[in-house]
C-alpha cells in the first residue's frame, strides 16, 4: 500500500475525478478525508469507509474550521489534493461578472485557501504533499472558457511558487493538467464538440477519472520524492 495511514484531504472529492482519487487513496491505505459541498454524495463516501466533511473552499474561515477538525480527528494532514473545480462557460462578450467571479473563487481562491491552511499544518510536521488539479485548458486556452482557463493557469502559478516557498520544509507541490476526462463536467458538451476533440487525441479515447487518480497517487507517494514544482499532463497526447 503506497499511502498507508497517510491523512489525505481531497477537495471536491465526492464526485468525478476527486471521487476516483478518494477511492484509490482509500484502497492504498490512506485515511481519506473527502471535502465537498454535496452532502448526499458525502454520505455515500462515508458508507465506503472514508470520512466526509462539508466544505465550501471559497471561504478561508470555513477551510480553517474544517481542516482544524481534520487535524483533531486524524492528527495532522499529510496530503492535500486541491481538486474542487467548476465550469461556467461563455464567450467573453457574453460572460457575466458573476460567472467570472464564481469560477475564480472556487478554482483559484479555493486552492489558495486550502493550501494556506494546510501548509501551516504541514510546516509544523516538516513534511507534506500538495497536488493541484489544473487543466490543459490553463496551458493552451479554449474558446468559451476565459474564466476557467485563467483559473487553471493561476493554479500552475500557485504550484510553482509554493514548490519554491515550501521545499525547505520538505513539502512537495505539483500540478496535474488533465485533458478530456469523462466526468459530469465534460458530459454536458455537445456531441460534435466531443468528436472534434477526439480527432485531436493521439490515443483516440477520452480519459477516465482513474487515469488521473493513478498519477495523483504517484505524486502523493514517496515514489515521487524528488519531484516538485512540476505540471504533468494526463491527456492522451492531446498536447505534445
Amino acid at each position: 500500500m503506497l499511502l498507508k495511514d497517510k491523512v489525505s484531504v481531497i477537495t471536491g472529492g465526492a464526485q468525478g475525478i476527486g471521487r476516483a482519487i478518494a477511492e484509490l487513496f482509500h484502497k492504498e491505505g490512506a485515511k481519506v478525508c473527502v471535502c465537498d459541498v454535496d452532502e448526499e454524495k458525502l454520505k455515500e463516501v462515508e458508507k465506503e469507509g472514508m470520512k466526509g466533511y462539508k466544505l465550501d473552499v471559497r471561504k478561508l474561515e470555513e477551510v480553517e474550521k474544517v481542516f482544524n477538525e481534520i487535524v483533531k480527528d486524524f492528527d495532522g494532514i499529510d496530503v492535500l489534493v486541491n481538486n474542487a473545480g467548476i465550469t461556467r462557460d461563455n464567450l467573453i462578450i457574453r460572460m457575466s461578472e458573476e460567472e467570472w467571479d464564481l469560477v475564480i473563487d472556487i478554482n483559484l481562491k479555493g486552492v489558495f485557501n486550502c493550501s494556506k491552511v494546510a501548509s501551516k499544518i504541514m510546516m509544523k510536521k516538516r513534511s507534506g504533499v500538495i497536488i493541484n488539479i489544473s487543466s490543459i485548458i490553463g496551458q493552451i486556452g479554449n474558446p468559451g472558457q476565459v474564466n476557467y482557463s485563467a483559473s487553471k493557469a493561476g493554479v500552475i502559478g500557485i504550484t510553482k511558487t509554493l514548490a519554491k516557498e515550501l521545499a525547505g520544509r520538505n513539502i512537495r507541490v505539483n500540478a496535474i493538467a488533465p485533458g478530456f476526462i469523462k466526468t459530469r463536467m465534460t458530459d454536458v458538451l455537445p456531441e460534435d464538440v466531443k468528436n472534434r476533440m477526439l480527432e485531436n487525441i493521439p490515443l483516440k479515447r477520452f480519459g477516465e477519472p482513474s487515469d488521473v487518480a493513478e498519477l495523483v497517487l504517484f505524486l502523493a507517494s514517496d515514489k515521487s520524492s524528488y519531484i516538485t514544482g512540476q505540471v504533468i499532463r494526463v491527456d492522451g497526447g492531446m498536447v505534445i
Partner: protein, 82 residues
C-alpha cells in the same frame, strides 16, 4: 507572571522552533545571523510567539523583531508586564 518566565517562555519557543541550544539564545542573538533562521523560520517564530502569548503581531512589527532581546522587550510591553 514574572519577568523570568516571559524570558524563559520566549527562549523555549525559539529552541523548539529553530532546534538550537538554549545557551545560544542570548538577548543579543540575531535570528538570521546567529541562529540560522530563514524567512520561513521567521514567519513560523512569529506564529509561535502569537500562539504562546495569545496576541497578534502585525507584519510591520514582526519585521523589527530580529533579535531575542527585542522579542522579549516587545512581549513584555504588549502583555503589560516588566
Amino acid at each position: 507572571m514574572t519577568e523570568q518566565s516571559i524570558e524563559e517562555r520566549v527562549k523555549k519557543v525559539i529552541c523548539d522552533q529553530l532546534g538550537v541550544e538554549s545557551s545560544q539564545v542570548t538577548p543579543d542573538a540575531h535570528f538570521v545571523n546567529d541562529l540560522g533562521a530563514d524567512s520561513l523560520d521567521q514567519v513560523e517564530l512569529v506564529m509561535a510567539f502569537e500562539e504562546e502569548f495569545g496576541l497578534e503581531i502585525s507584519d510591520e512589527e514582526a519585521q523589527k523583531l530580529d533579535t531575542v532581546g527585542k522579542v522579549i522587550e516587545y512581549i513584555k510591553a504588549r502583555t503589560g508586564e516588566s
